[in-house]
């Protein structure tokens, strides 16, 4: 944080009185514009009776909350299970890709590029439609989670690879000079540092994993999005339901992003300490 302010002070001149006035004016104008847009939306809702209390009160009812809560539980479960499997698998893929064995690194590279490049919806369809045609079927939960794992492990593999590449090259050399084998260097020196480096990015990967789980509606798995869809078809409260569902997603992801930011700041503070004091 303190590092940030000093950086801005160094890189930019502090605005003078005229600059400050201009900034204030533009800020006020943009806030007004945003308020106007929100107001227009609300007015439109009001005109169509979407803001009527009887369309919102039900969301305080226990059965409504339980219904959405079940979806939330499904979302969290799918995300957690996918993450717990996908992240270690991503690390294995990354290690495979940087392996000295040509065959292994080629296989890993092809695997990673394939699942990184393909839309997840296609993978879900493969599990929902294509594989059952050959007699391979999975429970709904896994029809969602396996595609999540395949896609997420490919993207996190690249995150890990970047992390491994970002560890100071001198560490490799120092470890060799001390007499660590290649494997020991990886285990004791490179990986612990790489994982620390990519921790914030992994949490951001968790955010995209959480959003990917919305594809659960395709396979009719009871996650939040699917529960919302079902609720709409029963109650006809389309605007209200999706607004509530959106708010839940936004709050969840906001918390995760906040956590990532917190970790990032901590890392940078450590790094700043590393650049010599006392």
């Amino acid at each position: 944080m303190s590092a940030n302010t000093t950086a801005t002070q160094v890189l930019f001149d502090a605005p003078g009185p005229r600059g400050r006035r201009r900034i204030l004016l533009l800020s006020v104008l943009s806030v007004l514009l945003i308020l106007a847009l929100i107001g227009a939306g609300l007015w439109q809702f009001q005109r169509n009776g979407q803001l009527a209390a009887d369309k919102w009160i039900p969301y305080l009812r226990r059965d409504y909350l339980a219904f959405l809560g079940k979806g939330l539980a499904g979302t969290l479960e799918a995300t957690a299970v996918a993450a717990v499997i996908a992240f270690p698998f991503g690390l294995v893929l990354a290690l495979g890709r940087i392996s000295r064995l040509r065959a292994l690194s080629t296989v890993a590279a092809v695997w990673i590029e394939f699942f990184r490049g393909i839309p997840m919806l296609l993978v879900v369809y493969a599990f929902l439609l294509a594989l059952p045609a050959y007699g391979v079927t999975f429970p709904r939960f896994w029809m969602l989670v396996i595609p999540m794992i395949l896609v997420s492990s490919a993207t996190t593999a690249e995150v890990f690879r970047a992390g491994i590449g970002a560890v100071d090259r001198g560490q490799n050399e120092a470890s060799a000079a001390v007499g660590l084998t290649h494997g020991q260097t990886m285990r004791y020196v490179i990986l612990p540092q790489a994982v620390r480096l990519v921790l914030p990015s992994l949490i951001l990967a968790l955010v995209s994993l959480l959003k990917d789980s919305t594809l659960g509606y395709v396979v009719s798995f009871n996650e939040l999005q699917f529960q919302g869809k079902t609720m709409v078809s029963i109650t006809r409260f389309l605007v209200q339901t999706y607004l509530v569902v959106s708010v839940i997603y936004i709050v969840l992801n906001f918390l995760l992003t906040k956590l990532a930011g917190l970790l990032d700041v901590r890392m940078h503070r450590r790094a700043a300490e590393g650049s010599g004091r006392r």
Partner: protein, 276 residues
């Protein structure tokens, strides 16, 4: 004893780092390789612990060819200190020092107490053992680097510009400390630097290298100063530039030492320093 026997190193792209180099480093002696960048001094040092393999010739330790030894085992019995200390940032200072003993199967408690003793030996408070490297100053980190190099109690110490990245005052301190350590431990030290003053201070024998690992001159510091082999050495040790070409002038009855361009650099006293 380390012996370089006509070693050479040519990289696959055709560049030659070292052409043909021979040198004997006696046991318990400290020898300094000094030269500008591109002189191959670091390459030569790295041949000793097989971080670099020579493309011709041999390096022998106590008459045994290092090429026949397992690099990992070899490196564990040779201490290595490098410029940027190379400490592991995610391990405490004590864990850093104990890395090799720990890998060799020494128990955690014993390797830790040995690590703390080593810290004391290199002039650090053992309380620093639980800090992380980033919490130490550059000079302290370098001391930890030396402690780590000594952890496996090696006979040979390789030092690759270990004091290059610290400020002059700390450097002087560390140099003095190394001389003290060496007088206690009597290791065989091969030291690499580009700083001729450092070389003269630390080396019993100094080897001045020209690009390509060509030996310009080899001898004790006083031999080299008294009788530079050629213009290159003369320039390198600074006598040609007047830095060391000092003469005496008498000012107000006192002997003043003056350099070539006439700037006074000191006052000459009689041998047992007598000051009022």
């Amino acid at each position: 004893m380390i012996r370089f026997d006509h070693v050479g190193k040519t990289y696959p792209d055709g560049t030659t780092a070292v052409e043909d180099f021979s040198l004997t480093v006696d046991s318990h002696a400290s020898v300094v390789l000094v030269g500008t960048s591109g002189s191959g001094k670091t390459t030569l040092m790295r041949m000793v612990n097989r971080m670099v393999d020579p493309t011709s010739g041999r390096v022998l330790i106590d008459d045994e060819d290092v090429a026949a030894m397992d690099p990992v085992k070899l490196r564990r019995r040779i201490g290595y200190v490098m410029q940027a200390s190379g400490l592991l940032p995610h391990r405490t200072v004590a864990e850093n020092v104990a890395t090799v003993p720990h890998l060799e199967g020494v128990s955690r408690r014993r390797s830790r107490s040995r690590a703390l003793a080593l810290l004391e030996m290199v002039g650090l408070d053992h309380k620093l053992g639980d800090r992380y490297p980033s919490q130490l100053s550059g000079g302290q980190q370098q001391r930890v680097g030396v402690a780590r190099a000594l952890a496996a109690d090696p006979n040979i110490l390789l030092m690759d510009e270990p004091f290059g990245a610290v400020d002059p005052i700390v450097r002087a301190e560390l140099q003095k400390e190394l001389l003290r350590l060496q007088s206690e431990l009597g290791k065989t030290i091969l030291f690499v630097t580009h700083d001729i003053d450092e070389a003269f201070l630390l080396g019993e024998k100094v080897v001045i290298l020209k690009p390509g690992g060509v030996v310009a001159q080899e001898g004790t510091p006083s031999q080299i100063l008294a009788d530079p082999a050629d213009d290159f050495v003369e320039t390198f040790v600074g006598s040609g530039r007047g830095k060391r070409a000092l003469h005496l002038e008498e000012v107000d009855g006192r002997q003043v030492v003056v350099d070539e361009s006439g700037r006074p650099t000191g006052v000459l006293h009689a041998a047992p320093e007598s000051r009022s």
